[in-house]
Amino acid sequence: MAAKKKRIDTWAPWMALSAMIAIWQLVCTAFDISDFIFPGPWAIAQSLFQYWGPIQGHALQTFWTTMAGFSIGIAVGLLLGFLIGSSRFMYNALYPLMIGFNAIPKAAFVPILVVWFGVGTLPAILTAFLICFFPIVVNVATGLATLEPELEDVLRALGASRLDVLRKVGLPRSLPYFFASLKVSITLAFVGTVLSETVASNNGIGYLMMSAGSQMRMPLVFAGLIVISAMAMVMYELFAVLERRTTGWATRGMDTQF
């Protein structure tokens, strides 16, 4: 009985997806909605198949650009998070600035980046980085700042230096927060890349969607959308698995699926 239930649980999202696609197609066919406005799944699938070559090329471009921006985001996020979380002074000094910075819609950055770096891949990488590093900073800082004072006392009474405490306790303790932030961050990075590609690139899914849209090829636009969505989901799931593997102790064997 339990095995049957588990199988139902695994199939549930697929069933929901199939149901959604079926209803979508039904609505489009029944109301005879034009492909220019709201293409049905069949039209999108055809488009995906027809233009698979170029779509693949653009998808890879978007993927690698995002990975590059994401990697910079991780590096900077870890560094800043460590700095802010480990020192009261740094926290007070930098945190308000970070929040202010994060409040700026990153779309506003793209024209500036284009002026500085020209059109193409570089502004896309940088936009991805600028959007995605903040959650990492916050989570790492939080992980470090929530160190119990008693534990710190126990170690300090033994003669541990501040760095000792951070290394032995602070950092391992922050890992669950860090991995949780990676899941959020990667999806943000995709947003950043596509944003930049839409307005300032001749490559990538963002450009593809913009270009197809201007030619009124809506099925292709939606195809691009689905490709991005698929990529982001795969990456999200990858980091979710990584999180479960390395920080199982934090959730104590509970099943966190989000």
């Binding site: 008693e150 009474a157 033994l158 003669g159 032995k168 303790r173 102790w249």
Partner: protein, 261 residues
Amino acid sequence: MANPFVDFSSVTLAYDEASGNAIEDVTLSLHEKEFIAIVGPSGCGKSTFMKLASGLRSPTSGTLLAEGRKISGPLKIVGMAFQNATLLPWRTTLDNVLLPLEIVQPYRANYKRDREQYRQRGMDLLKTVGLQGYEDKFPWQLSGGMQQRASICRALVHEPKLLLLDEPFASLDAFTREELWCVLRDLWAMKQFTVVLVTHELREAVFLADTVYVMSARPGRIMVKRDVDLARPRDIEVTYTDHFIRIVHELHAHIGRIRKP
């Protein structure tokens, strides 16, 4: 009488100007191998006392000597355990117990070389408190009482001369508490370190300690010093004898007087 091991002389500590003195004019001598308990109402400065004794804080005024020398920083001869076991959840029980050895010199310097020895020491300690077989379990797989036992092992693994316990059994049920009293009593008898036990539980203080100090409400002062003249080794049964109950009653009255405004 042997020279005092830790010597408080009119020690006062104020955390900052605004909040006033946390403890005031505390004079107290701790001798080696002694077991003392400090009881008092909440907020009377017991934890402050612990911070001073371990060298985590310096007194605002007064002198504090350890082994005849002024305390200038954290004493490495100290082991501490608190009400929360605070074991690191990503380490096994044994690794948690060994943590101090990764920090305190000279164990730290020789860690790679003497690893096996240290592991054996950790396992022996765990065995003494009845946690044999749980070395590779993670803290969340242990009950509260077991976590506290592991926490006490961690406090003792580096062979400290002074053990500071801040209400370590407060979050445990009555039976587990009595069990751990006996564990502590036996450990102390075997290893002969000095213990300062801070607690709310009067029976605990009188059962375990040689001397019980009663602190007043903030700013904490030592109001009463009561020597516990019960013979050792003490069995749990002694807690039901008249003599024991009389001592507890006496202390209870003292604290009652302090709590009334």
